[in-house]
């Protein structure tokens, strides 16, 4: 991916993160793009802890990050026009306990795009993507009738 395309993805991700109140609340942000692979970061905070003894983030917060990262990786993909891509289903395998008080990273990519459905997968990791803490597989619906330009127009006219 060229530098210009990476910038385009970054702008799109930042715009979506501002637009989505829960992503904004959690501070989920762009962390990198490599070809079709998008990486986002969920900053650690006390409120996301699932196990008070270890301080590790709850699996539910990892579900939020995965849904967010797979969904955004779908709408950023060059294989489809930029449209809204609601989640149809999501499956998460918890592979390891998250590192204590660590930010969680998620990397996601499209492995098959059809006209109507996007198939994505991704991993969540703390210290290294070679040691994922979770793996996600999801399918997302391509809403051809809801392209992002129309969405931004709606958002702006509503404000």
């Amino acid at each position: 991916m060229s530098g210009r395309d990476a910038n385009r993805v970054r702008l799109l991700v930042d715009r979506m993160s501002d637009y989505i109140p829960h992503a904004d609340e959690l501070g989920i942000c762009f962390a990198g793009v490599d070809g079709e692979k998008l990486t986002m970061r969920l900053p650690w905070r006390e409120e996301l802890v699932g196990n008070p003894t270890t301080g590790a983030v709850h699996g539910g917060a990892i579900t939020v990050l995965m849904d967010q990262t797979l969904g955004i990786a779908g709408l950023c993909s060059e294989q489809v026009p930029p449209t809204i891509t609601p989640t149809l289903d999501l499956r998460i395998d918890h592979l390891r306990v998250a590192t204590t008080q660590s930010d969680i990273m998620a990397t996601a990519w499209v492995y098959r795009a059809t006209r109507k459905i996007l198939f994505l997968e991704g991993i969540a990791w703390c210290d290294s993507p070679d040691e994922p803490i979770a793996k996600a597989t999801g399918s997302f619906v391509v809403m051809q009738e809801l392209d992002l330009e129309k969405l931004w127009q709606l958002v702006e006219s509503g404000e």
Binding site: P21, A23, E47, H58, T87, D89, H94
Partner: protein, 146 residues
Amino acid sequence: MKLSDLIERSPDGEVLRLWLERIPYARFLGIEASITGGDVLFKLPAQPMLVGNPTLPAIHGGVVGAFLELAATFHLLAKMEQPVLPKTINFSLDYLRPTRVQDTFARCSVSRQGRSIANVAVAAYQDDPNTSTATARVHFLLADYD
């Protein structure tokens, strides 16, 4: 009282409240639980910060998933004869329709509980208990693992 001590107590509304209070993430989402007719009912009160789609508007799909996973965990804990804190092995979630920005409820059923593994089915609904906005299936490990 620690969670490990609390899970020894027979689950009534008060014990469920104390359990949820001890999990920072459950507190953050604002999850509540009550016991009605011998069944545990979980509630996710609507809050602006839980929104994922402000245009529809709808609750963030990830939040719905997190709510269902927490509900399944605490439901299982309440039903266990010898309670241990279940760990999620995996989680499979189907979104059936948008979860609107209003109070959401979850009801669970234990499909199978063996010695070390349990399978719990859970559904989220809003106005009508027969119309789910999302359904999920969770596998739990009932022992320590890496």
